[in-house]
Amino acid sequence: MPAAELAAAGAPRERAPAIWIFIALDCSSFGLFFVVFMAQRLGQPALFDHSSQQLYTALGFLNACILITSSWLVAWANVVGRQGDFAQAKKLIAWGMAVAACFGLVKGYEYYEKLSSGVTVSTNEFFTFYYALTGIHFVHYLVGMVILGVLAQGPHPYAPPDQAHASYRKWLEGGSLYWHMVDLLWIFIFSLLYLVGAR
């Protein structure tokens, strides 16, 4: 839908995309982490590669597929939401959450497995970054799950319908953008931590 149509729909001012500013800033800070990680790796590539091989690449790959699938369901929800089919949007968001819940399980298993075999933040520099990057990403994921949980409730049931629908559409738009960012960041994190050092 072009911007002109949105303005004609009666919204006094379309400000949902301002979340793009947050996304750009958040990506920048992750970008900085990636560069610092690679710069720290410069002096000790063997240690970083050896540590990376202790991670289960298959689990990281599984998590990438889980997030892509969840992101896709949420993108789809956004498409039907724009067309006004909120019942379908709610259902798709709920499916997106259900799929994404598996990400938490897999990540939780990985953390448990690593911590119980004595691999912690202070094991070496690679694992400091492993826990920092995946940990901060995990916080983003948890916030995203809460946002999806709110979106799965659908538009406010008691507010006047036009108002409730306009506000739901705005939140659906912003919330799904945030969720795609969580997916997008995992792609670089997965490549950096699991793939670059594999074999």
Partner: protein, 89 residues
């Protein structure tokens, strides 16, 4: 047009899973590391662009943000590959 095309996210999903698989194979089974790393980083960048365009409808975002995020993807991938190269040399 992109916004109302519900096939767009669906096609993107298959494409993303497919190229993710490729990058996994490159990492695990490729003998030539330089090519494998280039493939991993290139595929990561491609996946990010697909997500930006197909899922996030970046064409609707302000032009400055659009340029910035494409630039970010490029700079991050170039830095990852460049610093990997520097460490292996």
């Amino acid at each position: 047009m992109i916004g109302n095309d519900s096939a767009a996210p669906r096609n993107a999903w298959l494409l993303l899973l497919l190229i993710s698989g490729l990058s996994f194979v490159a990492a695990e089974f490729s003998a030539e590391r330089h090519i494998a790393i280039a493939a991993i980083v290139g595929i990561a960048a491609a996946k990010i662009v697909v997500i930006l365009v197909r899922f996030m409808d970046i064409d609707r975002a302000p032009a400055g943000i659009r340029r910035y995020l494409y630039g970010w993807t490029l700079v991050c991938s170039a830095a990852i590959f460049g610093l990997w190269w520097a460490a292996s040399a």
